[in-house]
């Protein structure tokens, strides 16, 4: 059982949780993630660690409700528990002093990119952070974005906050203005990462993207998270999740992420129909504190 010591909404359908997980807190490095399972019948889902406190023994995650598991998770509050949390998984981000770095993040990707942006700034880089969101109420962690960067831009699709346009528009402006960019990190929806890769690869700018393939174990045991890099297959959970954007086959990633679309939609619909009941049930199961198996 992993206790939630703090839960708070941070944006539309986006919630931040601080979870007691002392082993993970001690070992976490930027770019790594956890896998959690809410209850006995739940699936395992990967979530990036936004920050960790080795002294308090806690890790912070940020969750956007998009399907059943994330919606159920986002119904939990301070004091509730999660059945299983494992990590830190994946390779840490490669932190070096590159010079000028641009970090592009879309929606919940902002939380995922923050620890790496901080680390890059601390390593002496000039960090330009471009945060994108659909509209004002999806803009998250603006203060932290500013703290983690040397320059920050907020972009919204509808122009309801910051500047209007996609994050790639700002990147384009920077490139047009002749800014020297030594390194780019893009974290967010696959089409956004692909668009960034298409802009930076021809210019030879080293670009890393964080791939969100579907995972089960997170330890390299199932191969379900495999992504195509050039002609080579890699496992996102152990060889990634960050990969060199110029090598990534984004089409295959998008196609593989649709594998369970129908079931996911059905299961979300079914959850929404009797959400309250299911949350009560989950709470009871977790409060009983009993782990049936272990």
């Amino acid at each position: 059982m992993y206790k939630i010591v703090d839960a708070r909404g941070v944006g539309l359908n986006i919630k931040q949780f601080v979870i007691e997980a002392p082993r993970i807190a001690r070992k976490h490095k930027p770019g790594q993630f956890i896998i959690l399972r809410l209850h006995e019948k739940g699936e395992r889902i990967p979530l990036t660690i936004k920050s960790s406190d080795p002294v308090a023994g806690t890790v912070t995650i940020v969750v956007q409700a998009i399907g059943k598991t994330t919606s159920l998770l986002n119904c939990l509050e301070t004091g509730d528990s999660i059945l299983d949390v494992v990590g830190p998984l994946g390779k840490p981000s490669e932190i070096e002093n590159y010079g000028t770095v641009v970090v592009l993040a879309g929606s919940v990707g902002t939380a995922m990119a923050l620890p790496t942006a901080y680390a890059l700034k601390q390593a002496g880089n000039h960090v330009v952070f471009i945060e994108g969101a659909r509209s004002a109420e999806m803009v998250v962690f603006e203060d932290e974005v500013r703290a983690a960067s040397s320059e920050a831009f907020i972009m919204t699709d509808d122009g309801s906050y910051g500047e209007k346009g996609l994050v790639t528009k700002k990147l384009d402006e920077l490139l047009e203005s002749g800014r020297m960019i030594d390194f780019v990190l893009a974290v967010g929806p696959v089409p956004m990462m692909r668009a960034v890769a298409r802009m930076t690869t021809p210019l030879g700018i080293k670009t890393m993207v964080s791939l969100n393939s579907i995972m089960v174990d997170g330890t390299g045991m199932c191969g379900g998270c495999r992504v195509l890099l050039g002609k080579q297959s890699k496992f996102a959970c152990v060889d990634g999740p960050e990969f060199d954007a110029s090598m990534v086959n984004f089409e295959v990633l998008m196609q593989r992420n649709t594998m369970y679309r129908e079931k996911e939609c059905a299961s979300l619909k079914q959850f929404q129909e009797n959400m309250e009941e299911q949350v009560v049930e989950l709470r009871e199961e977790l409060a009983a504190g009993e782990k049936h198996y272990v």
């Binding site: 082993r23 993970i24 070992k27 399972r37 019948k41 739940g42 699936e43 395992r44 059943k68 598991t69 059945l83 299983d84 949390v85 494992v86 990590g87 830190p88 998984l89 089960v216 174990d217 997170g218 330890t219 390299g220 045991m221 199932c222 191969g223 379900g224 495999r226 195509l228 297959s233 152990v238 086959n249 089409e251 295959v252 196609q255 593989r256 649709t258 594998m259 369970y260 079931k263 996911e264 299961s267 198996y293 272990v294």
Partner: protein, 485 residues
């Protein structure tokens, strides 16, 4: 003690040898293939008492029993069979536990035809004694009787041992070490304990309740378990020894890394490794709609499984149970070379699995949306035997054909789990990334660290992993007692 309970021959009303040799091997009752190919209930139902005793009476008590020689851990089969014959089932179970820590499991999954039963003299002319079925019988009898003779632990030594991995190797080492008075803690990466026994071997062959029962016994004996710890990531071997002060570590992480075919098309939707498919279905219970885990909807679909071992056989029978219209096994050698247990091959055939032997996929085909549509295969023929002694399959030119498929599951083998090796530079590995350990002591290149099971040998069997666990326990005990590396 148990020997005393063996009744004298005269009391057993034994038939003369000649008559006994006429008794046919007792048949293991099974679920009807039509019924079982639609559910996940255990296929084999277990011998009843009468059949078990009758089967035991077939043993001719050889002076030099070949059965014992061919059991990898030397289970004292002759004595055990005699105890069963005498009706002392608990005595038989106790005797069995002297060499075999997981008898309810090995009785079900050992490849008996290559091991104990392969060595049984009766097999030279007719059918060998059904040793596996008898082993399962006594282990189940013991469990159901509730009179488990859990051994007493030796006084506390003050030493502690960390075990990494909760497969058969880790579990059996844990049991032996806790009995010697050491503090034992098992670290497992997944959320359930049992290794392949839980995530790989399906419910219809090895019910989870049996594995759970063995784990509960260990817990009662004082073994501590910590799930959700990926050693190498959550904590390193050095941290376990230097910061958490374990006096010794046993690495039993198995060979769980899936091997793909490396043919074009392996990224289409519908292509799985057998590990992923079986993990989704077994560990995550995707066959039960109450659970959230999705797996490809196999109903009325064509499923191909590639491989000829237990893993492939488990995957293809699982697909059948999930409602596949056709469930086909594609294997590049002939049936004689199939590494799967013979009983599973028979059960698979009964359940309507189709076999494409001497066939190999060379390309997976898909539609414009990225969904699998079939596999382009070639016919193979067997040439001269290779180093492994098996005849090497070679392609027959111009024999290509397409098998339609919505799902392809690749079960052609696994390799070493790498997470510990990559974070422990002073742990010697061979060129395939398996951990190098001394054959007798299971000591690795790193002082205080031992390794055994599939992570040393490569994918093998439950009983070999269990044997390695026990060997490691003895060696670790010796190290902790003498204190010399």
């Amino acid at each position: 003690m148990s020997e005393n309970r063996v009744l004298p021959r005269s009391a057993m009303n034994v038939l003369p040898l000649k008559e006994r040799m006429k008794i046919l091997r007792r048949h293991m009752p099974e679920l009807d293939p039509l019924v079982r190919s639609r559910n996940f209930a255990e296929v084999n139902l277990g011998l009843n008492v009468l059949d078990a005793v009758t089967e035991a009476s077939r043993c001719i008590e050889c002076a030099k029993p070949g059965c014992v020689v061919d059991c990898p851990v030397g289970v004292q089969i002759k004595t055990i069979v005699a105890l069963i014959h005498a009706g002392d089932y608990l005595g038989a179970a106790a005797k069995l536990r002297e060499d075999n820590a997981l008898p309810a499991i090995t009785g079900r999954v050992c490849p008996q035809e290559n091991q104990c039963e392969g060595g049984c003299i009766l097999g030279k002319k007719g059918a060998p004694v059904a040793i596996g079925n008898l082993e399962r019988f006594v282990a189940d009898f013991e469990r159901e009787s509730g009179q488990l003779g859990l051994p007493a632990n030796a006084p506390k030594t003050g030493k502690s041992v960390a075990i990494v991995g909760s497969g058969p190797a880790g579990l059996s080492a844990a049991g032996d070490l806790v009995q010697k008075g050491h503090r034992v803690r098992v670290f497992e990466a997944l959320h359930e304990l049992g290794g392949v026994l839980i995530y790989g071997i399906p419910e219809f062959r090895l019910p989870k309740s049996i594995v759970k029962g063995e784990v509960d016994n260990l817990r009662r004996m004082g073994v501590e378990f910590e799930t959700n710890v990926v050693v190498g990531k959550s904590v390193t071997l050095d941290e376990l020894m230097n910061e958490e002060h374990y006096d010794a570590v046993f690495v039993a992480t198995g060979a769980g890394l899936p091997v793909f075919l490396n043919v074009p098309g392996e990224h289409f939707n519908g292509v799985y490794s057998a590990n992923e498919f079986l993990t989704r279905v077994n560990l995550m219970r995707a066959y039960n709609s109450e659970f959230d885990e999705p797996v490809y909807d196999c109903r009325d679909k064509d499923v191909i499984v590639v491989g000829g071992g237990n893993t492939a056989m488990d995957a293809v029978r699982t697909a059948r149970r999930l409602g596949a219209r056709t469930a086909t096994l594609v294997y590049r050698r002939s049936e004689a070379e199939m590494p799967a247990r013979k009983e599973e091959v028979k059960h698979a055939r009964e359940e309507g699995i189709e076999f494409y032997l001497l066939t190999n996929p060379v390309e997976l085909l898909g539609n414009e949306n990225g969904w699998l549509t079939g596999a382009r295969c070639v016919r193979m023929e067997l040439s001269e035997p290779d180093e492994s002694g098996r005849r090497r399959p070679v392609e027959i030119k111009g024999s290509e054909f397409v098998l339609p498929a919505n799902v392809v599951i690749i079960g052609v083998g696994t390799t070493a789990n790498p997470l510990i090796q990559s974070t422990t530079p002073d742990l010697a590995t061979n060129k395939h990334n398996y951990i190098v350990a001394d054959e007798k002591t299971l000591r690795t290149s790193k002082p205080g660290v031992f390794a055994g099971g599939d992570i040393v040998t490569g994918g093998a069997t439950v009983i070999l992993a269990m044997g390695a666990g026990r060997k490691a326990a003895a060696s670790i005990h010796e190290y902790l007692t003498r204190g010399e590396w």
